[in-house]
Symmetry: C2
Subunit: 315 residues, 2 copies
């Protein structure tokens, strides 16, 4: 039994927050053809919100608007009750303060229809904490975007201890319908997936600058001209899988496993157990879906060329 | 005094190695209009080399060939003396075995004209080690590409203890002339810059898979739809600098400095000293060259849109 409406029947989204994240979400949903009610704390924030939306619109138009999408379908209000009651989905991007979010979810939990999923953009708090005082926590999830939220497709989704799995599944399906790339997390883990990976890289970068091994400019030159264009096409697991030819990820781990002990970063690798090896290999095999590595390498190259040409043409 | 010829006067490149790196380099230099002599250990490897070059050529043509560039300007030989004597630059991509490379550099040191810079593609060895038995180590440098070497522009350059700084500078200038993005390293450090950053991310990914926090597919979905397209445009330092608005990197470090203590990755951050803070801020200010963050954000968005459209159009 699922109390939530069909995701494709949801046409009215309420966003909460006038900052770059809240405004970015409002712009995204408008561009995808939704009616959007943007709740802001104070109508004095309206100009700031509109500036975020107008800036985002330039890019959203260049990516391609949904038929019927229009900024005229935006309503801005400081009346939370009005904003919540008409919503078929709520994306909350209030300031990152636990007390503030807890009070907000206590209120939203009462005034928003119980079959409406509420998603928080928080990057540092858990839904277990945020929904502590909420009377209807089952429909509350994290829906964490990546900055800029109107451009990058990723949304990381995870519930709290009292969240219903149906709400998590609904949010994932809804975000996908709304043109995002949802990633349902296996566990509540600080930093989710993308930020954890980025943060490991960032801390290594700070170590390198602290030790005089690289400058900030060196870091950025290295990333832009090396790993990043490939990572945009393949991620990192498939990059290694395809680079290792016939043997794929198995060869990568069996052959370069010892390199995990080398001081190629200050982060110690986990023990390369048989179980970890198998998970990596099976995960990559599943992604490869039987394609031969030469086909995947050709596709990689074709797409990296397109990314490099796009970077050059906009330089 | 500089004994090396002008970089723009160098028109004949010798590559050593028949594998994906050696072949990738040969293809790159051919595409940039150089005469290339490819040395392979055994003429039986010729077909493998040509297959690498032909595969690379498809992408290089799509990126745009230099006027006059042609695969007809390739000579393949197993005669090392002949290959070395006609060279104006040597890119060595022999197998990653120290004994083998040391013997090779002992020979090259004798037979290659002393004003010819020799660069090694090694990813795991230092030039101090490689050139241990070389009679002319001053012109020997590391010139480390990123896979695939015919596509990704990055080349990390660093000398060994006996390398002349002129040779490092010459290699950087030559790679730039030859269409690469050179990065001269401050120190010999294992993994150079790009691989260290990537390796920190990779080890965090392995930890997440080992702990059941994410699957390989989750890792790749997160990277492709989140950090990577932005990192391809801005790197990581400028991504944070621009995202923090007026305050830039200073705001990032002053406001989010405490987050460096949070368990957002298993890699501990360095102490955020005043000196590290200043290096990061000054480095980003230098890269910004006085541009306002709104202009840089608009440029970021325009370029991310181009990258996302390129990814979509080639999906």
């Amino acid at each position: 039994m699922n109390m939530y409406r069909d995701v494709s029947a949801a046409t009215r989204v309420t966003t909460i927050g006038a900052g770059p994240i809240g405004g970015g979400w409002a712009a995204h949903f408008l561009a995808r053809g939704y009616d959007v009610t943007a709740h802001i704390h104070d109508m004095a924030e309206r100009d700031a919100l509109m500036a975020v939306i107008d800036t985002a619109w330039t890019s959203l138009a260049a990516l391609g608007l949904e038929r019927g999408a229009s900024r005229d379908r935006l309503t801005v209000t400081s009346d939370l009750k009005e904003a919540a009651q008409g919503a078929e989905f709520i994306q909350e991007s209030a300031p990152e303060r636990l007390d503030l979010k807890q009070a907000l979810y206590a209120t939203l939990g009462e005034i928003a229809p119980e079959n409406v999923v509420i998603a928080s953009s928080t990057s540092g708090l858990t839904m277990t904490e945020i929904a502590a005082d909420c009377a209807t926590p089952a429909r509350c999830v994290i829906g964490h975007p990546f900055n800029p939220p109107y451009l990058l497709p990723l949304v990381e989704i995870v519930g709290g201890e009292r969240t219903a799995s149906e709400a998590v599944a609904w949010a994932a399906a809804f975000y996908e319908t709304a043109g995002k790339a949802p990633l349902v997390m296996k566990k509540e883990v600080p930093g989710f997936v993308a930020t954890r990976l980025q943060e490991a890289l960032w801390r290594e970068a700070l170590h390198m600058v602290a030790n005089g091994e690289a400058t900030p400019e060196d870091i950025d030159i290295a990333l832009k001209n090396g790993p990043a264009p490939r990572m945009a096409v393949q991620g990192q697991c498939m990059a290694f899988h395809v680079a290792c030819g016939e043997g794929g990820m198995a060869t990568n781990l069996d052959q370069f496993g010892p390199a995990l002990k080398w001081p190629w970063t200050r982060l110690e690798a986990p023990e390369l157990t048989q179980e970890l090896r198998d998970r990596m290999v099976e995960g990559c095999d599943a992604m490869a879906r039987g394609r031969h590595f030469t086909d995947m390498a050709a596709e990689r190259d074709r797409r990296i060329v397109a990314v490099l040409n796009a970077l050059r043409d906009t330089a």
